[in-house]
Amino acid sequence: MAFRAAEYEAFEGERSRMPVWWPVLTSTLRRGWGSKWVRRITFLSMASALGITVMIYFLYQVVPNWREMLVEMGNMVLPENQEDARIDAHTYLGLLRFFVFPILLPLSLVFGYDLISADLRANAFESYFSRSITPAAYILGRTLAYVGFMLLVTLMPMLWIWAYDVLTGPDEHFAEVASVPLGMTAAMFITSLALALMIQAVTAITKSGIWTNLTFVAIFIFTAPVGGILFELSGENANFFALSILHCIHVFTATCLGVSDDLDDQYADPNLTAGVLFLIIFLSLLVLLQRLRKRSLVG
């Protein structure tokens, strides 16, 4: 009988110069995609984008001049001083409310929660940090993966709609929506970064999947009505709306799209909302680095 046991072999090959956060990034993306609910949410988001483009397509089939009709109808319905009801950067800002917000919260919860609670259960930190990786590189890889996923479900469908809109629209339409790709990318990037860092910071503090989710839900949902109440109480001081993260995202996106001047006094100051987002990023980073410096993520 010929028998050859699997044998251990020394590694003679070259060690790569690849930055250490890269494998963390790719692995996190792979794991995220492995989650059933993440795939479902992503599919939902892509499907709604597709749905909107299909709708535009059929509009062209039925009423080829629907863009002009929209403006005319808008002029009839809307009060005099209102602008034309045409598709421009405002429309994309509006898409945010019905298209991005309902997806952002569940995605952060499912994606973040599944990763984090699995890591805690699998005690993965011990595997990671006994190797040649620094905490900063780990956070970087992790955060970029989160951001990548959130951009995938928010920005990508938006850009898809935008591209279809521009391609089918008249030439002069491009000028109306030219600010969208860059502005939307910037806004969504900062938003995703803030959420990604926040959920990691909350985990670093609570060290529990349940508490992370509860805290995140409370911050997301509870702050909205509080902002509203304070707005009314303070004699309509709209800056109190900045308490609500969703509101901040909205105003910040408007700023990035260059339409913040049109926001009325029902919206917080754009600088303030940007400040809130950057404050979240800053504080979360601070918490994360402090926790990792104490090495307490390892448990």
Partner: protein, 311 residues
């Protein structure tokens, strides 16, 4: 002369007010070393501070002559760690997770995948390599952890309770694997374990820790030097008690051995010749099932090292 593989200088680790390691200094020149000590003696704290999982309160750790505080991340490429608690990359297959861990240690993705497959074959998880680790049994998880410690081809392995929770087959297999890694591939080993027979088989020297202090640094051969010419005797279980009576009546000291059917016979004044044991057995109508010169077991020596100090 190459620098020592591991050098600790005045290493102190604290968790809050609790001192887990108190100014431990030692150096390890290579080979296989066992960390012994009761629960809470500071074994895991020592491993974790060497690996940078815990930041020492003071003191210096040098791996291969380099200060880990300064070059820790790079030095850890040459180190493999098998933690006591289960630890894996969740949500992906075993081989994918292992490749990922290898990439973190600086292997190219293609090399990493190749080695992940090879290493899993080596530890005997070849058939299971596409499964998720969360579905593994305890024994498979232990082997996976060993594979994870080996996948980036380190020079020094830290094994924290490598045979904990393994069934006999798994244990023998794990010990064999570790032994091969050491003997055939020249890895240095540092093993923390409760299971003294394992330590006896794998290691050549021990550090005995107790309450965060280094109690003893000794070679195993010295620790288990034959004691007082005693004999270790095994008998059928039913006759075991009767035999001990007879031995005592014959002026011997009979101490209980490892199992219920084993006795260690000691004569205070002289060595016991084997034929005396056989005669004793015949006298009480039983058969000797096992006989060997009673070297002190590592366990006895270990207990003595701890208790001798407590008195």
């Amino acid at each position: 002369m190459p620098p020592p593989v591991l050098e600790l200088a005045e290493l102190t680790v604290r968790y809050g007010r609790f001192t887990a390691l108190d100014r431990v200094s030692a150096s390890f020149d290579g080979g296989a070393l066992a960390l012994l000590g009761p629960n809470g003696a500071g074994k895991s704290s020592m491993l974790r501070s060497i690996l940078g999982l815990v930041r020492p309160a003071s003191g210096v750790v040098r791996l291969f002559g380099e200060d880990t505080e300064k070059k820790g991340a790079l030095m850890r490429r040459r180190v493999g760690y098998m933690p006591e608690r289960d630890s894996w990359v969740p949500g992906v297959s075993a081989v994918r997770g292992l490749a990922h861990l290898a990439e973190i240690c600086g292997l190219l993705p293609s090399d990493a995948m190749l080695r992940a497959h090879d290493t899993l074959h080596f530890v005997g998880l070849g058939e299971e390599r596409y499964r998720e680790v969360s579905s593994f049994s305890t024994g498979m998880r232990q082997r996976y952890k060993l594979a994870a410690a080996l996948v980036h081809d380190p020079d020094l392995l830290f094994l924290d309770e490598p045979t904990n929770g393994l069934d006999p087959r798994g244990r023998v297999r794990m010990l064999g694997l570790i032994d091969r890694v050491r003997k055939e591939h020249g890895k240095h080993l540092i093993i923390a374990s409760h299971l003294l027979p394992d330590v006896e088989m794998l290691c050549d020297s021990v550090w005995v820790l107790d309450e965060g202090v280094m109690k003893k640094s000794e070679t195993i051969a010295n620790l288990t030097a034959a004691a007082r010419g005693g004999q270790r005797v095994r008998l059928p279980r039913d006759d075991s008690a009767r035999f001990a009576e007879a031995a005592r009546a014959d002026g011997l000291e009979a101490l209980p051995g490892e199992g219920a059917d084993e006795w260690v016979l000691i004569d205070e004044s002289a060595a016991i010749p084997p034929d005396r044991v056989f005669r004793l057995a015949r006298a009480c109508g039983t058969r000797v099932l096992g006989l060997k010169a009673a070297a002190r077991s590592l366990e006895d020596a270990f207990l003595e090292a701890l208790e001798g100090d407590a008195d």
